[in-house]
């Protein structure tokens, strides 16, 4: 499923995975991360679950490199593997995709996974509306490895509706955390829990529209947890975002 173009030692790395979800928030956030951190492309994904798509290089208007719908990037500096998925994942084949991904993560001794996703904001109840717009669902094994998360858990309220961090593991009563609109986020998080992979889902409440601010919020929250770049940095958008909302008018109109 994952075809690497070079040999890399992933032991101890953190994996960032964008779920194809409402507003494409996770995928937009990954675009910002890649533009900022400039990791190198190291592999491609070939699986029946990912609808095929090709285009030019989204991170440079001058490069001629081909882009496909599923790609891997690697940053030696941050020991980070970043997936980017650019097209829908077919639900009927998503379980096989998730199972193979977990297998690959364990084979390569990847330390933990962060799933970035948007979730439907219209599903919030009243207390959630006044609560934080970014919530996280985290396995205890991940929380132990992240000091910033531990502090968030200690300092948050006891009301689960307004908590920003929800601790969840496979040994608890099986109940599905609401990730409505989150694509395969829940499926992947659940599979990580069952498979013993430390996992965190960062969810941003949003709806379809201009989701750039949602992506920026996800990146900022992730940066708070992982301390990747200076806190006050600007998240630059890649060249592929130009024309996101349609063509400019034809000159012949004027």
């Amino acid at each position: 499923m994952i075809h690497l173009q070079e040999s890399v030692n992933f032991k101890g790395c953190i994996l960032i995975f964008p779920s194809v979800s409402v507003g494409n928030a996770g995928q937009l956030a990954v675009d910002l991360l890649i533009t900022k951190m400039n990791p190198r492309k190291i592999g491609l994904i070939w699986h029946s679950a990912i609808m095929p798509m090709v285009g030019g290089d989204p991170y440079s208007s001058s490069e001629t490199a081909l882009t496909t719908s599923g790609e891997l990037f690697y940053s030696e500096q941050w020991k980070m593997v970043i997936f980017q998925i650019r097209s829908p994942i077919m639900q009927e084949k998503s379980q096989d995709f998730v199972d193979r991904l977990i297998e690959w993560i364990k084979e390569n001794s990847i330390d933990k996974i962060v799933i970035l996703t948007g979730i439907s904001d219209y599903m919030r109840n009243d207390s959630e509306i006044v609560g934080p717009s970014v919530k996280s669902v985290v396995s205890p094994t991940f929380a132990e490895k992240c000091e910033a998360l531990k502090r968030l858990v200690e300092n948050q309220t006891s009301d689960p509706q307004t908590q920003s961090v929800i601790l969840y593991d496979a040994s608890q009563e099986p109940k599905k955390i609401s990730m409505h609109g989150g694509g395969i986020s829940w499926k992947l998080f659940n599979a990580c829990n069952v498979g013993g992979v430390a996992a965190l889902v960062l969810m941003k409440y949003c709806s379809d529209g201009d989701n750039i601010p949602d992506a920026v919020k996800l990146c900022t929250y992730l940066n708070t947890l992982l301390n990747l770049v200076p806190f006050d940095c600007d998240w630059e958008s890649p060249p592929s975002w130009t024309g996101m909302f349609g063509n400019p008018p034809q000159l012949g109109l004027y």
């Binding site: 075809h3 491609l44 070939w46 699986h47 029946s48 609808m51 095929p52 798509m53 090709v54 285009g55 030019g56 290089d57 989204p58 208007s61 001629t64 490199a65 081909l66 496909t68 719908s69 650019r86 097209s87 077919m90 060249p239 592929s240 975002w241 130009t242 024309g243 996101m244 349609g246 063509n247 400019p248 008018p249 034809q250 000159l251 012949g252």
Partner: protein
């Protein structure tokens, strides 16, 4: 059969395919028929007039694959896997497809684009001349052409995809000029000596006008 050097062509839009097939391409010998995966048998497919994809063997180590217009985007992966044995040892793969001009995105103010034009995408290891401009961001290609190019990129087979943007859905001699020009630049014979415009075009999904009876 062992071939030293092979190239493959994959055509997609029914109108262009039908016109090119009937009037220009000298198809050669069909060697493989690729049917849709499903529960329908041959008789049911024939009654629904479902056309299969076919691989032809042309002269001098060239394979030509003409895709069925009935293939769904969801079948792209499976179709590509089916034809991959022929692509595995190819020297290069050339993919041809079309799209309506409304699908072409521009990012800056410019005059109206021409009625018909061609763009290209290639794998990183494609070393042969590319016969049209690069398809620039944020434009993308989906479906079977994308699946084939992705497969070639993944398994390191040199490949190029040519996409023709046209203003009309109907095909005429003007709209196939670009393909004729492309075919004439390739280093092997693909065109008939004299195009035969009397051949019946292949059937497919028709876009019928409701303005006139």
């Amino acid at each position: 059969m062992s071939l030293i050097a092979k190239m493959m062509y994959i055509q997609n839009l029914i109108k262009i395919t039908g016109f090119i097939e009937a009037c220009f391409v000298d198809k050669g010998v069909p060697i493989v028929e690729i049917k849709e995966t499903g529960t329908e048998d041959n008789e049911q497919l024939r009654r629904r007039k479902i056309k299969s994809s076919v691989i032809y063997h042309l002269a001098s180590d060239i394979l030509l694959c003409i895709c069925s217009p009935h293939l769904d985007i969801a079948q792209s992966f499976d179709f590509t896997e089916k034809i991959s044995p022929w692509m595995k040892n190819a020297e290069q793969v050339i993919i041809l497809t079309c799209s309506h001009i409304s699908g072409y995105h521009i990012t800056r103010y410019q005059n109206d684009p021409p009625d018909i034009f061609m763009k290209a995408l290639r794998t990183n290891n494609f070393i042969y001349p590319v016969l049209s401009d690069r398809l620039e961001q944020p434009n993308t290609v989906k479906g079977i052409p994308a699946a084939v190019l992705t497969w070639c990129q993944t398994f390191k087979i040199p490949a190029v995809l040519y996409i023709c943007y046209a203003r009309n859905y109907e095909v005429d001699s003007d709209s196939v000029k670009l393909f004729v020009h492309l075919f004439s630049k390739l280093p092997f014979k693909l065109l008939k000596e004299k195009p035969n415009f009397t051949n019946k075009l292949c059937g497919g999904s028709e876009i019928s006008s409701t303005l006139y009876l």
